[in-house]
Symmetry: C2
Subunit: 480 residues, 2 copies
């Protein structure tokens, strides 16, 4: 599958200049070295590339971007290559250079006084977690790909995860940003100001722009005090509306202590038990829906946390919102609870062909949306199974529709699967929701965004893209 193009005649001067600029460690056209980075981790997209640049500094990134601008070479920025929408995979023309930020992995400062970390774009999320922990702090964003996802990729895709409920997505955690713009100049707002009203918020514009406006090279990130205690609760409930009532109850009782609120249907739990050797569901019986709740406290509130957790469950029982519940007895069990939740995605994928949708609607509408969408889709495509799981507290559900037993993957995904996705996206749009809650648009959903996006917003996206990247060299074919 390695199909790196033989360099076209006119690309030779660019390749020579790039090699001269970045050296052997910083630039390669070797097909075997590049190959792993031409396919996204979900293996949905494979592209080709002129070469792969791995600069070691912001200056080298800027130099490369200027070189690309001079030679009209498109740039595909890439972090851990663990994105969900093919946003870091080049197209099949082979005209682009992959710009890997992985060598820029210096974690410059973890500062307890300002509760912040300043690091280069290539720092891996897990490394950041560990560095923060070592200083009694934490970075309150985590997700399945934390062992490969980089800070730059997380910023470029405005990544979410299971702590958005309390801490917001990546957008809320970036205090300062450095990026190389399409003309090779460096946008530098790395030193954070808590207040700065000097015009449009360019930092927020770059966050979530998926490399189409510039290349994130470094960031200053917000850290929080480490938690002194946590309680992980598991409850079984009859319906999503009841789960939503439980969320409101937990918000009312626990306030800032409520950090995670995830839902999953029995079907997902069954899939996990089939997939994960030795996995046990926390409750004795099956329930239509399961809820995972995480409560946390700092030193001041640690003592009262178990009591608070008990009162959430007691009030929920009294109000008839849940039928059974348990609390993790220790950290090992807490981790086991979370592991069940985090294994849903691979477990569901192992069941066979399916189409996945990362959707959001206004939080209060999500139960009704799922209750309407599931029977409608299953009736329209007999034999399919529709399930939603995930971040109910954010109005964000991962909504999967599983192919009928025995369906051929390629045929089904290209046919019914595609039609189902369009139908799901149509419904979400009609409900005032988003076809990409946290995974971004990339190349996976670009056509759907063009089809369903608000024309006024789409026009603004295109105008801004055209203004900042008039040559269209930054991550072409992504987002817009």
């Amino acid at each position: 599958m390695v199909e790196t193009l033989a360099p076209r005649a006119e690309t030779a001067p660019f390749l020579e200049a790039a090699a001269a600029l970045l050296g052997a460690k910083g630039f390669t056209t070797d097909p075997e070295t590049i190959a792993p980075w031409l396919t996204d981790w979900r293996q949905r997209f494979t592209g080709r590339a002129l070469g792969m640049a791995s600069p070691a500094s912001t200056e080298e990134v800027a130099g490369l971007v200027r070189l690309c601008a001079a030679h009209n070479v498109p740039i595909v920025p890439q972090g851990g290559n663990s994105g969900m929408s093919g946003g870091a995979t080049p197209d099949e023309t082979g005209h682009a250079v992959v710009l890997s930020l992985r060598r820029m992995n210096a974690l410059r400062v973890v500062d307890t006084a300002t509760r912040s970390a300043t690091c280069e774009a290539g720092v891996i999320l897990q490394v950041l977690h560990e560095a923060a922990e070592a200083k009694g702090l934490r970075f309150p964003l985590s997700l399945g790909g934390k062992g490969s996802a980089t800070v730059g990729g997380l910023i470029s895709t405005n990544a979410g995860g299971t702590q958005v409920l309390r801490h917001g997505s990546m957008r809320a955690l970036v205090l300062g940003l450095e990026a190389v713009m399409p003309d090779g100049t460096v946008f530098n707002q790395l030193v954070p100001l808590k207040k700065d009203n000097r015009g449009f918020d360019l930092k927020q514009l770059l966050i979530g722009s998926e490399g189409t406006l510039g290349v994130v090279t470094a960031a200053t990130l917000k850290l929080e005090p480490a938690v002194a205690a946590r309680e992980v609760l598991w409850a079984g409930t009859q319906s999503l509306p009841k789960a939503r009532e439980l969320l409101l109850l937990a918000e009312r009782l626990a306030g800032q202590a409520l950090e995670g609120f995830e839902v999953m249907p029995q079907h997902s739990l069954d899939a996990v038990r089939d997939y994960l050797p030795g996995a046990r569901q926390p409750l004795a019986e099956d329930h239509p829906w399961h809820v995972l709740i995480e409560l946390v406290a700092d030193a001041d509130g640690a003592e009262r946390l178990p009591e608070l957790a008990q009162s959430v469950l007691e009030e929920a029982f009294e109000a008839g919102l849940i039928d059974d519940a348990t609390m993790a007895a220790n950290e090992t069990q807490a981790e086991a609870f979370w592991n069940l939740r985090e294994t849903i995605a691979p477990a569901e994928r192992a069941l066979g062909p399916a189409v996945q949708h990362d959707i959001s609607v206004p939080v209060e509408k999500m139960p009704a949306f799922v209750e309407e969408a599931v029977p409608l889709l299953e009736a329209q495509w007999p034999g399919t199974r529709a399930i939603g799981f995930g971040h109910l507290g954010d109005g964000n559900i991962h909504f999967h529709v599983i192919a009928p037993q025995g369906a051929d993957r390629a045929t089904w995904e290209a046919g019914d699967g595609k039609a189902i996705s369009r139908q799901v996206h149509d419904m979400v749009t009609a409900w005032g929701g988003s076809i990409s809650a946290e995974h971004g648009i990339g190349q996976l959903k670009r056509d759907e965004l063009a089809r369903l996006g608000d024309p006024v917003a789409l026009a603004m996206l295109r105008q801004i893209k055209q203004a900042l990247d008039p040559k269209g060299l930054m991550n072409p074919g992504k987002l817009i």
Copy 2:
């Protein structure tokens, strides 16, 4: 001073069409009606206008903007006309129309379940406060002009205030936004999604853009639960570095309960006592610096709040950070403490000519900045007095330099005053700070931004402005 231009021959068709579109209540060219809105409340800028439009709906705003686009008529959006930088005052050409949003003052919903309020741009901040309170909620942003400032103006200027420390500025409190774009189309993200990754964050781009990219017509705002208790503390300290240590101590002990942290020098308090009949300073003796701290709690933490407040003061005494302190005995006293703080600006202005600077530097550097800047400026311009007061917790100080006794206002402000402002802005920039922390750029600081702004950021601002408003009709002469 009313100098509304006689309509130029070619503007007649526009004026006729605007009158037909908006009716007598919605459009006027009457000089007396318009006059109060042609001068900003600080009376620093006076402009002229073709007429004043007061549309009653988003559709009427859109219609007017289309009309202006067709006739090349510039638009100056205006809320409560209480901005600090002349951002809502037209220029002197008289070519523009003032677009008042004050008639659009419907507060559509205050929703306790989603803790949000949806309202039109013309809703006055105090009205929003009262509506939230009536439902057991609060909107956690307040400032001196709350009786006139509108939601649209607060959003367009990304207003701050005394609660930014905990809740962020306006930017953090806007969940949904509706705006009319320069071509008269309506950008509608009024229904909030907690997660939405469909491209660049256009909502954040519009917030703080000072009407140069579009006209904010409505918003959905974040509300918080009403506080069940508060403690307002007043302490005297020797220096700003000690005040900063006290801030860190309060953050450590009080966490989320810390909602306000304001500093002021004795000079400011003296000015308030001279200005405000019957004002008494909370402590018996003078101190070089005074600190006002507000701690709040919900029902769960209300009981422990007095004890928490006591422990902050006790630890601060023990650490040698403060020399005297008191706690407000009741709400009346708490309000009196805050009233001292809020009276500083008018009291300082009453002392005579001065130049004011709304500056920020990284929070941890602010004490050193003030300690360097004050003696330097007072030495360079003998007879002046430099004072800083305000939001130390945000790294944001209102830095005033008062003219020598007996100086002629006009002469001094145009001469030494201007030179001092340049010097202050030069220093702030050298320290990595902002020449506008919370007041915006408007027309007051436009030249200074052009002089001192990062060229890369300035280029981006201009490119985006040009892309979204190619005719340059939206609030010309402001910001960029």
